[in-house]
Symmetry: none
Subunit: 406 residues, 2 copies
């Protein structure tokens, strides 16, 4: 039986770009190592949730890891909270928070305070707040991200987001999404908390100083992804493999924790475009000794796509290519490289476009694809598959599949 | 309306093989007649159960014949028992048995007694045994196979296998797979029977003589696939066609019988690699007079793949090619040739790899594929389909489809 490395390059998929002569950032990038894997292996394209579905990273990852997002996804909050090591109890409502900048009319000026480095000060300011018997716990995530947990009797996760998703739009009032008393009460208390937080943040000395320095103030909490901690079959039980996650960004560590994987921090792996990918890959190869399955997540390409920075995305892909070089020397290991979704630089957000996939296994079929790219992979022997197919394929290629029937 | 011949070449799919210059046994074989069908017809590849799923032959056949294996498959035993003409009553637990060789520590030395020709003597020895109110009925199948039926009050099929699946591993104790009294009782009685059978077999004069002659003794029953006779919609009711099965191996006759098809024995069709395929095909063409649908099964390629005999598999495929020659002269007949799963010679077992498919119909679309092979068919106009799609396609191509809607 072989081991498996699954490398997810967040937001990798893209569209043809004029300045790249109609190539995508991946196709325009110089990627000799990824291309070598394509030559040795078998390629295809994948719709991580389903054809035409524009997936969030969380739902896409669940699907890729073999969990049905339609029945098992309860919202992003729990993964975000677990990812930054928050202690969560049954009945807690978990939310994802972006630290953001709003103007005096509460119109969003920047959804990430210009990708501020840390939210530690703001989380500390607000953590432990109690309103109407509900306790709010906040903890900083990576960069502009925070996790928030609401604890109290009869709360519901059926509430809307305060995040309008677009700049120059006013922040949204939280609304109950069903008629339950719990949803109404949760929305009401959360609205009160967000008002209180804005009042405290806008006059915070450090924010006044940021304004003086011409920086954006960190003055509003954009909440989204409310969810109740989900009860999922552990990955190890489902796939009969001891699994570990090597990731920088909190969401992916959180997904791994919720699925019962071990989570290992690679030094310098920050979940941003400046992440030390070489150190991350060294860690991957190191932990391969002790695990059957290594889930590796690299975030940068997604953020650069969301920023519309196609040159940055291309260059980051070239950094990835360098970092995966040592994987080519591994033996008795199935290596799969793909993305959770496309984040076309021209769209500044996720799209429903399928993503390229390469699988290199010690044995089995290959194809004639010699380049790792959106168009080349479509000609690959795997054809067009869905996210739910990936784990069964990898388990089969690793010689670990159970026969269905006899 | 046309008639339909569906020819399943068991375990046909394979991987590229070095000694064949990177071709599969099917691609390396000289197959002018199969290639002619590919030229005249339309090709594709098929995942018989689902992408990434490594199917057993039974689950794969159900799926190909239009039955959902996830909801309708109860275990291999009932098909095996029906296939060799055992009389089965409601509540009977049916099991598949391999006659095997174990050493004195009950470690398996050969799971098929070197593919012994007949189990008649051993079945006769053990048939009719009663333990604790449970009657054991045994009947020889082809080669090393037997069918076993347990009859008694309150039995359950939720029991594990004695077959460890690998050589040099000790035979397994039967365990109940749920907490029911029936499962516990069934496991207990079956364990007692297997001990008794071993005691009788190991001292059997014919086995002592086999040992003296340097042959493997037939001294243990490896059981698997316990199931209760399933209640399925008859094939004729489902597809509105009078159907017949022409097969050598018991499992496939059993599946056909359970689905209510007639079963016809072709002279010399033994379900092994030495089967008289020409006689089988003559029988197929003969029975086409009286039936709308002929399901033909050829086993040999699977067994040769499991033995790692890639040259034998290639040569057997050439025998198949010769045998299908007369099909090219048929009129008003849709001909489909495919496999139930891949059995790569390098893996010695089933794999999840898709299988090639060719359909030749008197009318309708064709494509530019001119060779029947794993890679060539992938370029065909049918693309990559699933087993559940095949029957509807064939029924449509035969001009027999009901409109869905109006």
């Amino acid at each position: 039986m072989d081991k498996i490395i699954l490398l997810i390059l967040d937001g990798l998929g893209d569209w043809p770009i004029g300045q790249f002569g109609g190539k995508t950032p991946l196709e325009a990038a110089n990627t000799p190592n990824l291309d070598e894997l394509a030559k040795r292996g078998i390629c295809g394209v994948m719709d991580t949730v389903d054809i035409g579905i524009k997936p969030g990273s969380d739902a896409a990852h669940l699907s890729i890891l073999g969990y049905n997002p339609y029945t098992e996804y309860t919202g992003r909050g729990p993964f975000e909270a677990a990812g930054i090591g928050m202690e969560v109890l049954p009945g807690d409502v978990c939310l994802r928070v972006n630290m953001a900048t709003v103007d005096e009319e509460l119109a969003v000026k920047d959804r990430r305070v210009g990708r501020i480095d840390s939210t530690e000060e703001y989380a500390r300011l607000l953590d432990g707040t109690e309103i109407d018997g509900v306790k709010f716990m906040l903890k900083p995530g990576t960069a502009y991200r925070m996790g928030m947990v609401m604890r109290g009797k009869g709360l519901s996760s059926k509430i809307s987001d305060s995040d309008p998703k677009l700049v120059d739009q006013r922040v949204k009032k939280i609304k109950p999404l069903d008629d339950s008393i719990g949803a109404k009460q949760t929305a009401k208390v959360l609205n009160q908390f967000l008002e209180l937080a804005y009042a405290k943040l806008k006059d915070l000395p450090s924010n006044l100083q940021r304004i003086n320095e011409g920086k954006l103030p960190a003055n509003y909490l954009l909440t989204r992804g409310a969810g109740i901690y989900p009860d999922m079959v552990p990955f190890q039980e489902k796939w009969k493999m001891k699994a570990v996650c090597v990731a920088g960004a909190g969401l992916y560590k959180g997904i791994a924790r919720v699925l019962g994987m071990d989570v290992i921090d690679a030094p310098g792996a920050t979940g941003t475009a400046t992440s030390d990918l070489n150190a991350k890959m060294r860690k991957v190869i190191e932990v391969l000794e002790d695990y059957d399955f290594v889930f590796v997540h690299i975030k940068g390409a997604d953020s650069l796509g969301e920023d519309g920075n196609c040159t940055g995305k291309k260059e980051f892909i070239e950094k990835i290519d360098e970092a995966v070089r040592p994987l080519l020397d591994l033996q008795d290991t199935v290596i799969a490289i793909t993305a959770d979704h496309s984040t076309p630089c021209e769209s500044l957000t996720h799209s429903a476009d399928d993503v390229p996939l390469v699988i290199w296994a010690p044995r089995g079929r290959t194809d004639e694809v010699s380049q790792f790219g959106e168009t080349a992979c479509f000609r690959g022997r795997l054809g067009r598959i869905q996210g739910r197919h990936l784990m069964p394929i990898l388990v089969d290629k690793a010689g670990r599949a159970q026969k269905f029937g006899a």
